[in-house]
């Protein structure tokens, strides 16, 4: 809870500052955009959060986004597959990748960093291979499918603002993920193995299987994210589609309170983290006239945020200690 408070406060401050500097920030159109982007990045960040909770890392997220994002339109337009067949292929590929990572990590005991780094290189390479580096996209077809990402759901009694469809995906994913993590046996076991794998194993938990599951979730959600991204953007170039998204996803998860040492994390925090990154980027375009220092600002704000969070925490601890000492002395 503590951890989420800090980041939420930061998000709030950034929103207030942006709103005061730009009156377009709170326009329905901009909010819809923000929500859609947060939803897309939120989905892949939640996936990564599961891996981080186990104490692992998944660097392949961006490349899985690329593989699915390029693969689906490629199958549909170049190979004329049907929509269900192409979606099935995407599901199989992304879950299969997660399974592969999980097995390499648990069976061969290879470090997650290495396995998923190879994945990062591999899947983008595969996408570049099969598309022959061609841009792929839906053109003006597949409107129905694309509504998954571009559709809007009107809110009763509210006009001028409607919910972007990806938000529904995020909502479903987040609720399922939160229940899964906090209320089911699987989630409990995942948290346990993240903080002390041996203890989990000694308690009869099939730690290998749980770890594999986490990687499957991560790749699966990366695949879903990749699909939604390409449906939203409508075209993908394998060389750069989803580049660096693993870092954004990990950053969102860590900002949202996931400890890279494992065993800690909340889904709400991850979404707040993803939102913060998107609001920052939005702010830079809305408020300034140059967007080339965007990343510098994101980096600086995150750093300032975690620093402030840490300092506040320390001050609180010191204050508490002082109060206790005073109470005891009295």
């Amino acid at each position: 809870m503590r951890k989420i408070l800090g980041i939420s406060a930061l998000l709030f401050v950034v929103c207030v500052v942006t709103a005061s500097l730009s009156n377009s920030f709170l326009s329905a159109y901009n909010l819809e955009n923000l929500i859609r982007r947060t939803a897309l990045f939120g989905i892949i960040s939640i996936g990564v959060a599961f891996v981080i909770v186990t104490g692992g890392i998944d660097l392949s997220v961006g490349s899985v986004v690329c593989l699915v994002g390029c693969g689906v339109p490629w199958l549909l337009t170049t190979h004329g597959w049907s929509v269900p067949a192409a979606l099935a292929a995407a599901v199989v590929a992304s879950l299969g990748i997660g399974l592969f990572h999980g097995l390499m990590i648990t069976r061969l005991r290879l470090p997650p960093f290495v396995v998923t780094l190879c994945g990062l290189l591999l899947y983008r390479g595969i996408a570049r291979g099969f598309t022959r580096d061609q841009t792929v996209g839906f053109g003006s077809e597949y409107k129905g499918l694309r509504a998954m990402a571009t559709g809007e759901i009107p809110i009763p009694f509210v006009s001028g603002f409607s919910l972007p469809a990806p938000w529904i995906f995020l909502l479903v994913v987040a609720i399922v993920a939160a229940v899964f993590l906090n209320r089911t046996v699987f989630g409990r076991h995942l948290l346990a193995l993240g903080s002390n794998e041996q203890a989990a194993r000694y308690s009869g938990i099939k730690t290998g299987r749980m770890t594999v599951l986490a990687y499957v979730i991560s790749s699966g959600l990366a695949g879903l994210g990749g699909l939604l991204f390409v449906l939203d953007v409508n075209s993908a170039q394998p060389v750069d589609f989803g580049n660096f998204y693993e870092l954004y996803a990990i950053a969102a998860a860590v900002l949202g309170g996931c400890s890279l040492r494992g065993g800690e994390g909340t889904i709400v925090g991850v979404i707040v983290g993803a939102a913060l990154m998107q609001v920052l980027r939005n702010m830079i375009t809305l408020v300034t006239t140059h967007n080339n220092i965007e990343f510098a600002i994101i980096g600086a704000v995150i750093l300032a945020g975690v620093t402030a969070d840490e300092l506040v925490r320390r001050m609180a601890a010191r204050k508490r200690a002082r109060q206790e000492a005073a109470a005891n002395a009295a």
């Binding site: 159109y29 053109g139 991204f229 939203d232 953007v233 060389v239 375009t285």
Partner: protein
């Protein structure tokens, strides 16, 4: 003292007697895929082996590719230098070992045999003229581009700006990307870059629409930018309301012209870049210097495509690239 190494240099080194030439791009894009089709077609016609290479990681990658090509022993290289001024030395080193031409973007200070391509500044001006055409009464304009540090990008953008503002032609102008430029009834509100991240490119378009609800015209200067503009406009229900002027010949752009949501585009002729490069290199490899004009410039002009020209152009393009 390099004469001893194996596999390098002279044309005779290639296997099977067939000459081998390479076409090196400045990055990865569908633009270059069209060029690759031209490379292949020319290779088949003049009877040389061809290869198209696209660096992923910018300059250092391009350098590595050229070095490795020289290692392998190549009979000619056509390259689109990313940073012509600073790459001069690399180009000169390559030119010593094999025939070298530049395409798409020139390196005038280097020992390259000839430049095959167009003038980006001039093409930019053609694009700027389309903006003025689309908005005869003037208005606000936002520019969208992948990156600004590439020489061709800089010149192209400058051409657009100068033409919109009605300035005389001067390729050495430079307006910094931040800050509003005004004149001639137009306000150019800024230039947004996306580093080839399409989601970001689309977000840029959306943010511009949010920031300037009454934006007049959006100009997409890299091939993938106009389609992203169209996506953003479609989702904001502003198709047709905001003018779009494009660069290059993405399918979505051409379809947009057909439908009227894009006013027009400026197309280069990447197919001819590839085709001509291979033709020239094949001759140079045979020792025939006569293909080089005195100006050391083989012009492959850019053209404007509006609704009237689009159907014919598209059909021709499909025929060349073998697309359906």
């Amino acid at each position: 003292n390099k004469s001893t190494e194996g596999g390098s240099g002279g044309g005779g080194a290639s296997s099977g007697g067939k000459k081998k030439v390479a076409f090196v791009s400045n990055g990865v894009a569908s633009f270059w895929t069209i060029a690759a089709a031209g490379v292949k077609a020319a290779g088949e016609k003049v009877g040389v082996e061809t290869e198209t290479l696209m660096p992923v990681e910018g300059i250092s990658d391009q350098k590595r590719i050229i070095e490795d090509l020289l290692t392998r022993g190549i009979d000619g290289i056509a390259v689109s230098p990313i940073d012509p001024v600073n790459q001069t030395e690399l180009l000169n080193r390559a030119a010593k070992r094999t025939p070298l031409v530049t395409h798409d973007s020139d390196a005038p200070g280097s020992d390259r045999a000839v430049y095959i391509g167009m003038d980006n500044y001039g093409a930019g001006r053609l694009c700027g003229d389309l903006v003025r055409e689309a908005m005869p009464k003037g208005g606000t304009v936002m520019l969208f581009i992948g990156r600004l540090e590439q020489d061709n990008a800089k010149r192209r953008r400058q051409g657009v700006i100068d033409a919109i503002l009605g300035r005389p032609s001067n390729p050495t102008n430079f307006d910094p990307p931040s800050g509003v430029i005004e004149g001639n009834g137009f306000r150019i509100l800024g230039t947004l870059t996306d580093q080839f991240d399409r989601a970001k490119g689309k977000a840029n378009a959306e943010d511009a629409l949010a920031k300037y609800p009454d934006l007049g015209c959006m100009v997409g200067l890299f091939a993938y930018n106009p389609p992203l503009l169209l996506e953003a406009l479609a989702q904001a229900n502003k198709l047709g309301q905001v003018k779009v002027v494009a660069f290059d010949e993405d399918d979505a752009t051409l379809a947009g012209i057909q439908k009227g949501s894009v006013h027009g585009t400026v197309v280069q002729n990447p197919y001819m870049y590839g085709y001509k490069s291979v033709e020239v290199l094949a001759e140079l490899a045979k020792g025939n210097q006569a293909v080089i004009p005195a100006s050391k410039f083989i012009d492959i002009p850019a053209r404007q495509i509006r609704k009237a020209e689009v159907d014919a152009f598209w059909a021709d393009l499909k025929a060349k690239t073998g697309a359906k």
